[in-house]
Subunit: 100 residues, 2 copies
């Protein structure tokens, strides 16, 4: 399977962005021990104060799916849900480049 990536746009509930940001940075830290996850970084934007973008690249889509079934991941998602007003994802296939 080819590598798999997503840009995920989280819209936080009003006033909850920084709390959601902490949870997503914890999720990013947990990815350090997941070799199938190549990139997982967390971004904010100055123009949209409730928005957080997460960029993920995985060895393949199956590895990403497997991560969603992990108990720790499921618990983190449960914790984050009340902070989230909306989620949109741009799915893509990384072809090459620096840092993959």
């Amino acid at each position: 399977m080819p590598p798999f990536g997503m840009h995920v746009k989280f819209t936080a509930q009003s006033g909850k962005r920084d709390t959601l940001l902490e949870l997503l940075l914890e999720a990013a830290s947990a990815m350090e021990s997941v070799p199938e996850c190549r990139l997982y970084f967390v971004n904010v934007t100055d123009t949209e104060p409730d928005t957080i973008w997460v960029t993920e690249v995985w060895n393949d889509e199956a590895a990403h799916q497997a991560s969603l079934a992990d108990e720790a991941t499921k618990a983190a998602i449960q914790q984050a849900m009340p902070l989230i007003a909306g989620v949109e994802a741009i799915r893509y296939r990384p072809v090459g480049g620096k840092g993959l």
Copy 2:
């Protein structure tokens, strides 16, 4: 200055995506020798056949601006322009995570 990133969505002229993809992969290779550029990778999507997404992370916005003034970069942009129907950029500030 904080780190700086962009997701850039290129829409290729009809039938020109693969040629544009080659140019962007060459640009990505050139970034291997630019230490201020942390990530520069190139992605396609199966659902939008004319689309290429480039994800870039730089040490700061000034480093990105400086790269645009580089003669080789300017030449590459000139070469790519006739292949491009549209460009949109999502600008962000990376906060942390795996692979930055």
